[in-house]
């Protein structure tokens, strides 16, 4: 193969050493580069430490190729020798080699590293920074909610400014495209609850309560919660990544300079679409959960389909369905707004997009669970 590479470039080289009294003459021959740097460096050092030296002369007259790293090594060898009070000379350099040596600047090699403003190594400082970050996260979220409310009131007063097409687009994205996975997860959860409760209830002969347990658990708790977590993973992250990438590409700045309110333009359609689709997806998940329970009920519990449905319907009250939908709506608002807000926080680079997308999902799931706990207590007292 004609191609020369770092891997197969053997940089064929030969070094001859000649001693005249205590003066060492080193004759270099061939190619000296990154690939054989470690080897020839070791050769020269070995020879130089063999015995007492008065002077070293390195001869370059037969060098065919030299790269900057090899030249740097020669300079280092010279510096080491001089540090040991041994005069060291580099001789017979051709123009090409001289050019390569000219790029090595002593002051650059000894230059102290500037401290980056992003270096926060000490522990106390890190704790302080994290506390400030948490505080500013909270402030940012509250500010975002404020901006969002302003945008909503503006849209109520000027309904034509709502970007309907975008709302429909995100309904499609977050809702319609999420139907299959919501159905599968709902069905499997229904199956699992029915199966696990059957294993326990059959011991007391209470199989008949399995449909009630499945429908109650699905509608009151698991349906809204599981769907919300799924949507947080699918859409919340997508919103953060989308707005974040726009921020990196200065598209958000462009919106501002064109006089658009970025929250109204980018966040409102996403939040509205999610508030519309999440309750629908929840009903869908509930339905498939009950179907999943029914599969176990009919196949393993000797219940007829009619009995199963009657038992399910008897347990569920309209109040439960309404509260479940309200919960879904609130979860939707949390997921979408946290996703958008995290997206707006992105400042620079791919790493920031990743960081805020992760943070959007984590924060959304945390807030969902927190809100769910609050709802549980609230509905108990109603």
């Amino acid at each position: 193969m004609a191609i020369q590479t770092q891997e197969d470039r053997t940089d064929p080289y030969k070094i001859s050493f000649e001693w005249k009294d205590l003066n060492l003459f080193i004759y270099l021959e061939g190619e000296f580069g990154l690939k054989n740097l470690t080897a020839f460096n070791a050769d020269i050092h070995r020879e130089m430490s063999r015995q007492k030296l008065n002077s070293v002369t390195i001869d370059f007259s037969k060098v065919d190729y030299l790269d900057s790293a090899a030249a740097l090594t020669m300079v280092q060898i010279q510096k080491d020798a001089i540090a040991r009070n041994i005069p060291c000379q580099l001789v017979n350099l051709n123009d090409e080699a001289k050019g390569i040596f000219s790029v090595i600047h002593e002051e650059a090699l000894n230059h102290l590293s500037f401290k980056s403003s992003q270096d926060h190594d000490d522990f106390v400082r890190k704790i302080g920074q994290s506390s400030l970050d948490i505080a500013s996260d909270f402030t940012n979220f509250v500010t975002f909610i404020g901006d969002f409310m302003v945008a909503i009131f503006y849209i109520i007063r000027h309904p034509k400014t709502l970007r309907g097409k975008d709302v429909l687009f995100y309904i499609q994205r977050a809702g319609v495209e999420g139907l299959p996975i919501v159905a599968v997860i709902g069905l499997l959860i229904g199956l699992i609850i029915a199966f696990m409760s059957y294993l326990q209830l059959k011991m007391v002969g209470a199989n008949i309560y399995v449909p009630a347990l499945v429908s109650f658990a699905m509608i009151k708790e698991l349906g809204p919660l599981m769907t919300a977590i799924l949507v947080a993973g699918r859409s919340g992250s997508a919103f953060a990544a989308e707005i974040g990438t726009m921020a990196v590409n200065e598209e958000v700045d462009a919106l501002h300079t064109m006089g658009f309110d970025s929250v109204r333009f980018l966040a409102v359609p996403k939040v509205l679409a999610t508030i519309i689709v999440l309750p629908i997806l929840t009903v869908y998940a509930d339905f498939f959960g009950i179907i999943g329970g029914m599969i176990i009920g009919v196949t393993s519990l000797d219940l007829t389909m009619k009995t199963y449905i009657t038992q399910s319907v008897k347990t569920v009250k309209v109040f439960d369905i309404v509260t479940s939908l309200i919960k879904a709506g609130v979860f939707a608002a949390l997921i979408a707004s946290i996703g958008c807000q995290k997206g707006f926080q992105v400042r620079s680079g791919a790493q920031d997009v990743g960081k805020f997308t992760t943070s959007a999902v984590v924060a959304a799931i945390f807030l969902i669970v927190l809100a769910d706990s609050i709802f549980a207590i609230m509905f108990y007292y109603i």
């Binding site: 590479t5 891997e7 090594t73 680079g349």
Partner: protein, 264 residues
């Protein structure tokens, strides 16, 4: 550098590129000589970037060959291409430094991957490379903390990490102020003189072209190929082709305005 006493390091033979029906260029033939600075120019859409992508092995042409020291990189498999890529360095338009890493880590990456050097040697090499591009001391900085010109220089330092034989530059001075662009030109000239690195540069900046180019290659969208080749000042003085003249003299092509601005 004289063409006559130089050996070609890259030879492009009968190269064609097309996207579906759209032919970008056809039957390109040219050579890049060892140690020269070749500048590729042409109006937007003439295929400069496509040509560059093919030459660095990021894109396959629809026909033809790109020979690096006689080795065809078009028909090379991924492993062979990787070996080729260790011999070249590329500076992308935006610098393309990895934003999650400091400058030191950016330059360190190829050295760690492709050499057996110990960390102390790598550190010294990094310091030397940063010194070469006038960024001594900036090793702990993240790319986001640097200005556009500094980012480009850091990109050059990374591209030169393995002492490549050929350096490719995409839109060298795009988006830089004249002073920074001039500094970059000086850096290019200095590096080329000192290290004899062959350079292939895509740029529009006339000032830069006159200053740095040993040879210019002009591509044209309509001709779907090379319409001029030569030393920049020769092209400016002796060109007869109206397209070449209008580019080097920075004038609108002759003809009625409505024809000039007609968009097909």
């Amino acid at each position: 550098m004289d063409k006559e006493d130089a050996t070609p390091i890259i030879a492009v033979k009968n190269l064609s590129a097309r996207f579906d029906e759209n032919v970008v260029f056809e039957d390109l033939n040219f050579q890049v000589y060892k140690g020269e600075i070749l500048v590729i120019v042409g109006a937007s859409g003439c295929g400069k970037s496509t040509l560059l992508k093919i030459m660095i092995g990021l894109q396959k042409p629809s026909a033809g060959q790109v020979l690096y020291q006689g080795f065809d990189i078009v028909n090379a498999d991924e492993k062979e291409l990787n070996l080729y890529r260790q011999n070249i360095g590329v500076l992308f338009q935006s610098g393309a430094l990895f934003s999650s890493m400091t400058l030191k880590e950016n330059i360190e990456l190829p050295l760690q991957e492709y050499t057996d050097l110990d960390p102390a040697t790598i550190d010294t090499i990094i310091k030397m490379k940063l010194g070469m591009v006038d960024l001594a001391g900036y090793e702990n900085y993240n790319p986001s903390e640097l200005s556009g010109g500094m980012r480009k220089r850091a990109g050059i330092a990374r591209a030169m990490a393995l002492d490549p034989r050929v350096l490719f530059f995409d839109e060298l001075s795009a988006g830089l102020d004249p002073v920074t662009a001039a500094e970059l030109d000086d850096l290019i000239i200095k590096t080329n003189k000192a290290l004899r690195t062959t350079m292939v540069i895509v740029t529009h900046e006339l000032e830069s072209i006159y200053k740095i180019a040993h040879r210019v290659l002009m591509l044209d969208k309509e001709a779907k190929g090379i319409i001029a080749e030569g030393k920049p000042l020769d092209l400016k003085k002796n060109a007869t082709d109206p397209r070449v003249m209008s580019f080097f003299l920075r004038q609108l092509p002759a003809g009625p305005a409505e024809q000039r601005f007609y968009v097909s």
